[in-house]
C-alpha cells in the first residue's frame, strides 16, 4: 500500500487530536478566548476554558511606539468592539486583557454571543485607539491541552443558604455553572515558561501549571495549599486569582492573590511536578476578589498594582515582603476577621489608591502608564483608558472638588 501525501495528511489530521501539543489551524480550535498573556517576544497565549487548552499565537516582536502619542483613551470600547464583530453591544463580553510588551498594543479576548453558540475573538487596540481584528486563522498556532481539566459534569456548590442575598434562584443558577470555567484563571510568562493558575479535576483542585514554550505536551503541575486568614483554615480548592513574579529576599518568587483576599508567596523552585506546596500567607488585602496583578514603579519604589472586584485597587510595595511574617492558625486573628474587623487588612499589603470607576481588567502599559478596562462609575460605560501610575491612577473629569472652581486651582487658597 502506498501513502499519497494526501493520505498521510489525512492520517495526521486523524491522529492530531490525540497529541497533547499539536500544530493546528489556529482559530478553528479556539472555542473560548479567556485569560491572556504575552511572552517578552510577543507570543500571545490564550486560555480556553471550554476546550481545556491554552493556545499560542506568535504575534511577533513588532516595534515600540515612536512618537509620544496621547494616552490611550477609547470610550465605549464594548460598543465599538461589538459593532466591529457585527453585533450590538449587549452581545459581547470582554474576558481578558494583556499588553504587548513591545508595541504596547492592548489585546482583549472577547466572546460574541453567549453560551455554547458564542464565538471567540481577539481584538487589538493600537496606541492610537484604533481597533483591529487579530486574524487567528492567519497565525500558526500551537496548543497545550490540559490533561486533567474538570469535565462538564462538575458544578459549584449551591450557596443559597450561606448568605441572604441574592435570591436562592441566583445561587441555584450559579451552582449550575461548570467548575471548568476556572480551569485557567490567570497566566503569566516568566523565564521561558508559561505559568497558569487554575484548577484540576481533583478535590485538591487549586493547581499551578508550569508549561515550557514551545509546547511539547509536557508540563509541571503543583497543587497549592495556603492558610486563609479570613476563613481561618487551610484551603486547597479555590484557585489563585491573580499572580506575578518578583525576587523576594534573593528568591525567585511567585506572588499569588486569592479571593477574600490572601496574599501568598511561593518560591518558584518549590513548584515541581506532582508536589503539594503550601504557600506562605503574608497578609490579607481585605475581602473581595482580585482580578489583575502586575508590577509598577511608583516614584522609584517597585510595587504591585492589584485590582479587585470588591474594592478599589491597591499599591503594594514589594519591599514590605522582605522577611514578611507568615500567617498560620497560631498567629492569625481569631474568629472570622472581615473588612469590618480592626485587624483588616493584615500584613504588608500596601494602600488602597484612588481610582474612579471599577477596573475589570488592568495591565502595565509602559513606565509611566497602566491601562484599565474601566466601568465608569456614573454612566456605566465601559472604557479602555491609560492612567498614570504616579501620582495616582485616576482621572479628574468625573469628580468635582474645590479645584474645579474659578480661583480654586492648585495654587489658590
Amino acid at each position: 500500500m502506498r501513502f499519497t501525501p494526501k493520505a498521510l495528511l489525512s492520517l495526521l489530521l486523524l491522529v492530531s487530536p490525540l497529541l497533547c501539543a499539536s500544530a493546528n489551524a489556529a482559530g478553528d480550535s479556539l472555542r473560548y478566548a479567556g485569560a491572556l498573556a504575552f511572552s517578552p517576544d510577543g507570543v500571545l497565549f490564550v486560555g480556553d476554558n471550554v476546550s481545556g487548552a491554552i493556545f499560542s499565537y506568535p504575534i511577533g516582536r513588532g516595534t515600540a511606539p515612536t512618537a509620544a502619542s496621547a494616552p490611550l483613551e477609547v470610550d465605549n470600547i464594548d460598543v465599538r468592539i461589538a459593532n466591529a464583530l457585527g453585533v450590538a453591544s449587549n452581545e459581547v463580553t470582554i474576558n481578558g486583557m494583556a499588553v504587548h510588551p513591545i508595541t504596547q498594543d492592548v489585546y482583549l479576548s472577547v466572546s460574541r454571543g453567549y453560551g455554547d453558540g458564542s464565538l471567540p475573538a481577539i481584538v487589538r487596540v493600537a496606541p492610537s485607539g484604533q481597533i483591529f481584528n487579530v486574524d487567528l486563522h492567519g497565525l500558526s498556532s500551537s496548543e497545550y491541552k490540559i490533561p486533567d481539566a474538570p469535565g462538564d459534569d462538575m458544578h459549584f456548590r449551591d450557596r443559597s443558604h450561606d448568605w441572604p442575598v441574592p435570591s436562592a434562584v441566583k445561587y441555584d443558577a450559579k451552582a449550575q455553572i461548570p467548575v471548568r470555567t476556572l480551569t485557567i484563571v490567570d497566566m503569566k510568562f516568566h523565564n521561558g515558561e508559561l505559568y497558569v493558575s487554575g484548577i484540576s479535576n481533583e478535590e485538591f483542585s487549586s493547581t499551578l501549571r508550569r508549561i515550557s514554550y514551545p509546547f511539547t505536551g509536557k508540563a509541571s503541575e503543583s497543587k497549592i495549599r495556603m492558610y486563609h486568614i479570613a476563613h481561618t483554615r487551610y484551603e486547597t480548592r479555590a484557585p489563585v486569582r491573580a499572580m506575578t513574579f518578583a525576587t523576594i529576599d534573593g528568591v525567585d518568587t511567585l506572588i499569588a492573590a486569592y479571593t477574600c483576599s490572601p496574599l501568598v508567596l511561593i518560591p518558584v523552585s518549590a513548584l515541581k511536578d506532582g508536589e503539594r506546596v503550601t504557600g506562605k500567607t503574608i497578609g490579607d488585602m481585605g475581602n473581595g476578589q482580585p482580578i489583575s496583578m502586575f508590577k509598577v514603579n511608583v516614584y522609584g519604589q517597585e510595587s504591585l498594582f492589584v485590582t479587585n472586584m470588591g474594592h478599589g485597587p491597591r499599591y503594594i510595595p514589594l519591599a514590605g515582603f522582605s522577611k514578611a511574617v507568615s500567617y498560620t492558625p497560631d498567629n492569625s486573628p481569631k474568629g472570622y476577621p472581615s473588612d469590618i474587623s480592626p485587624e483588616y487588612p493584615i500584613g504588608p499589603v500596601g494602600k488602597a489608591v484612588m481610582f474612579v470607576g471599577a477596573s475589570l481588567h488592568a495591565d502595565a502599559l509602559n513606565d509611566k502608564f497602566l491601562v484599565s478596562l474601566t466601568r465608569d462609575a456614573e454612566s456605566g460605560n465601559l472604557n479602555l483608558e491609560a492612567l498614570p501610575v504616579a501620582p495616582l491612577p485616576m482621572k479628574l473629569d468625573r469628580i468635582w472638588s474645590e479645584f474645579d472652581f474659578p480661583g480654586g486651582g492648585p495654587t489658590g487658597n
Binding site: 466591529a84 453585533v87 450590538a88 460574541r112 453560551g115 481584528n133 486574524d135 435570591s167 460605560n381
Partner: protein
C-alpha cells in the same frame, strides 16, 4: 442604467454542527440608490460568508480613492457611531468583495457603503441596508416538551424546562420562548436573563427561571411589578422555531392556569403511597400533595429494603408531575421498604423538604425525616 449588484450570503455557526447550510435570501430594507439593480446569489456554496458589490460605471470612476465598509445598523440608539465590521476587502475596478471576519448575525441589519472622493472629502456615494433574516437550515425540526405539564401551576412557579430531542446548545435562543397571559400580553420578561443559558450537560434540556425578584416576597421587583403569574389568570408558554425562515413557527405551546402561590416546605409525611402485592412487578405509586419539579424528580429518591438494599427499577413521572410510579426490575418480595428522598428534591416552586424557598433569612430548616416507609405483603 447603472449596473449595481449586491450579493451576500451568511456563514452559519451551524457549520460547526456539520449541518447543511443553505443560502439565505436578504431582505432589503431600503434602497438608497433607487435606480440600481440587485442580484442575489451565492459566490460559493462552500464558503458562503461573502458579500460582493458589482459596481456601476459611476463608482468605477472613483476606484483610485474608493473606500468600502459594512457597518451594523443598531436596533437601538447607541453612544458611538458604529465601527465598520472586521473583514477583508478585495477591490477591483468593477467589483468589491467583502468577507466578514465573523459571520453576519441572524436578525441583524447592516449597511454597506461605498465612499468616493467628492472634492476634497470622502463621501458616501452609494449605500444599502440589508438584514439577515431568521435561520434556515436543511434539518429535522427538533421535538420539544415543556415541563411542568400540569395545567394548574402555583403563581410562584420557579422553573420551566424545555426538553429537546437533540443537542440544541447554540441553536436555540431564550428569545424564542414566549409567555402570554390570557389578555394576549407578552410576559416573557418574567424569565430571568443570564449571561449563560442553563443547559443540561447533554444540551437537550434548557432551564428557564422565572425572575426571582418577581417571585420572592419583599424583594422590590415583586412589590413593584407583582408576581409574574397572577392567580386565576391563564397563560400560554410557546416555544418558537428559532431556525424557521421568517415566520417563527410555534414548535409547541402549553397552557396553564395560575393558582395561589405555594410557600410551604415539602413534608413527605403528607404524601401517600399506593402499594402492590408481593411477587408482582406492579409499581409503587407515590402521590404528592402538589406539582413537583420534573427534572429533580428523576434522581431524587430511592427505595430500600429494611436491610438497606437498594431496589433496582425505573421511574415514570405522571403527566402533571403530581405522582410518580416506581417499577422494580424484579418482583417485589414481602417485607418493609422505605422511600429515601434526596435533599435536592423540590416542588415546582423550589420548596425543599423541610425548607420553603421563600423562608425568612437564615431561618434554620425544620428537620423533616426525608423517608416514607411502607410494607409489601
Amino acid at each position: 442604467m447603472k449596473l449595481l449588484h449586491l450579493r451576500t450570503t451568511v456563514e452559519s455557526a451551524y457549520q460547526k454542527l456539520r449541518l447543511l447550510v443553505v443560502a439565505l435570501p436578504l431582505w432589503f430594507l431600503s434602497i438608497a440608490s433607487a435606480a440600481q439593480s440587485l442580484d442575489l446569489s451565492l459566490i460559493s456554496p462552500s464558503d458562503p460568508n461573502e458579500l460582493v458589490v458589482v459596481l456601476g460605471d459611476d463608482l468605477q470612476k472613483c476606484d483610485a480613492d474608493r473606500h468600502f465598509e459594512v457597518v451594523l445598523v443598531p436596533a437601538k440608539p447607541q453612544a458611538v457611531a458604529p465601527v465598520p465590521i472586521f473583514g477583508n476587502i478585495v477591490s477591483t475596478r468593477e467589483r468589491l468583495e467583502f468577507q466578514p471576519s465573523y459571520p453576519l448575525d441572524y436578525g441583524s441589519t447592516y449597511r454597506a457603503v461605498v465612499y468616493c472622493h467628492v472634492g476634497s472629502a470622502m463621501e458616501p456615494s452609494w449605500q444599502r441596508e440589508f438584514s439577515i433574516p431568521g435561520r434556515k437550515l436543511a434539518r429535522e425540526v427538533p421535538k420539544v416538551e415543556i415541563s411542568p405539564s400540569a395545567t394548574d401551576l402555583p403563581a410562584n412557579t420557579l422553573r420551566f424546562y424545555l426538553s429537546f430531542s437533540t443537542d440544541m446548545r447554540g441553536r436555540f435562543n431564550r428569545r424564542d420562548v414566549s409567555l402570554r397571559d390570557d389578555g394576549g400580553v407578552e410576559r416573557s420578561g418574567a424569565f430571568m436573563s443570564f449571561g449563560q443559558e442553563l443547559w443540561s450537560a447533554d444540551g437537550r434540556r434548557l432551564t428557564l427561571l422565572l425572575d426571582p425578584g418577581r417571585i420572592k416576597r419583599g424583594v422590590s421587583a415583586n412589590e413593584v411589578d407583582g408576581a409574574p403569574l397572577v392567580p386565576g389568570r391563564r397563560y400560554t408558554l410557546s416555544v418558537l422555531d428559532a431556525e424557521s425562515d421568517t415566520s417563527r413557527a410555534v414548535l409547541i405551546s402549553a397552557g396553564f392556569r395560575a393558582i395561589e402561590a405555594e410557600r410551604r416546605p415539602l413534608i413527605p409525611a403528607g404524601w401517600s403511597v399506593s402499594v402492590p402485592a408481593a411477587d408482582t412487578r406492579k409499581p409503587v405509586s407515590l402521590i404528592f400533595d402538589r406539582v413537583m419539579d420534573r427534572a429533580l424528580l428523576d434522581h431524587a429518591f430511592k427505595i430500600e429494603t429494611s436491610a438497606g438494599e437498594v431496589i433496582a427499577g425505573k421511574i415514570q413521572i405522571a403527566v402533571g408531575e403530581r405522582s410518580v410510579d416506581f417499577i422494580p426490575d424484579h418482583p417485589w418480595k414481602a417485607g418493609e421498604f422505605a422511600i429515601i428522598f434526596d435533599g435536592s428534591l423540590e416542588d415546582v416552586c423550589g420548596n425543599r423538604i423541610g425548607e420553603a424557598l421563600d423562608h425568612e433569612i437564615w431561618d434554620p430548616p425544620s428537620i423533616e425525616v426525608p423517608r416514607i416507609t411502607f410494607p409489601i405483603k
